[in-house]
Symmetry: C2
Amino acid sequence: MQSSTFNLMVIREMSPDRLSTTYAALADPTRRAILARLASGEASVTELAEPFDMSLPAVSKHLKVLERAGLITRGRRAQWRPCQLDPAPLKDAADWLEHYRRCWEESFARLDEYLGELQTETPKDGGG
Amino acid sequence: MQSSTFNLMVIREMSPDRLSTTYAALADPTRRAILARLASGEASVTELAEPFDMSLPAVSKHLKVLERAGLITRGRRAQWRPCQLDPAPLKDAADWLEHYRRCWEESFARLDEYLGELQTETPKDGGG
């Protein structure tokens, strides 16, 4: 990576950013489970709270974090305010990680190679 | 998603987990910029601190978060302890997000369709 490109990237990255808000919202197992539930359709707060041993206010707090991160929207219908998944920030989070695919693929390839060498050096008894 | 599958997933997700640690580590622009730098090769703390208007202890604090999340390793050579990227947790974070690809693709397709309808309803003047 060119140094000037890197510095530009650092400057862009240092501004208040949505990506940090997205990752912070994902850094909790309850919030990830709520998103998993909403991936199969909209749900009320009561429905979302049901599988957790958690008070409604505690679940509401998690929903506020997800809403601020733009990961869910709340309906405005008369009797209930169903939560819906907004997957756009998840795409941005995935796009950022995609830049590192080459890194983990190379890393796993090196590990495979190393394990292959180990097997060649210590062949099992038997066979021919 | 079947309810039993969802409940199992919730139980698994509720245990202390590495995915939360990974996303929490990524929820900071300085830490993401450090990972971007390390993607092009190992670097000392001084080298990593250089593009930031930040003290060495402040950078060290970020490195500790990345190290605890398993995203970097520190060398043990005599004169310096270079930092290296360990991309394995990034793959896990990307794999989790991959489950939502269908959601964002459908969401963008709906948006495209809606924009297409708007264009059909308000055709521009001119032409034939």
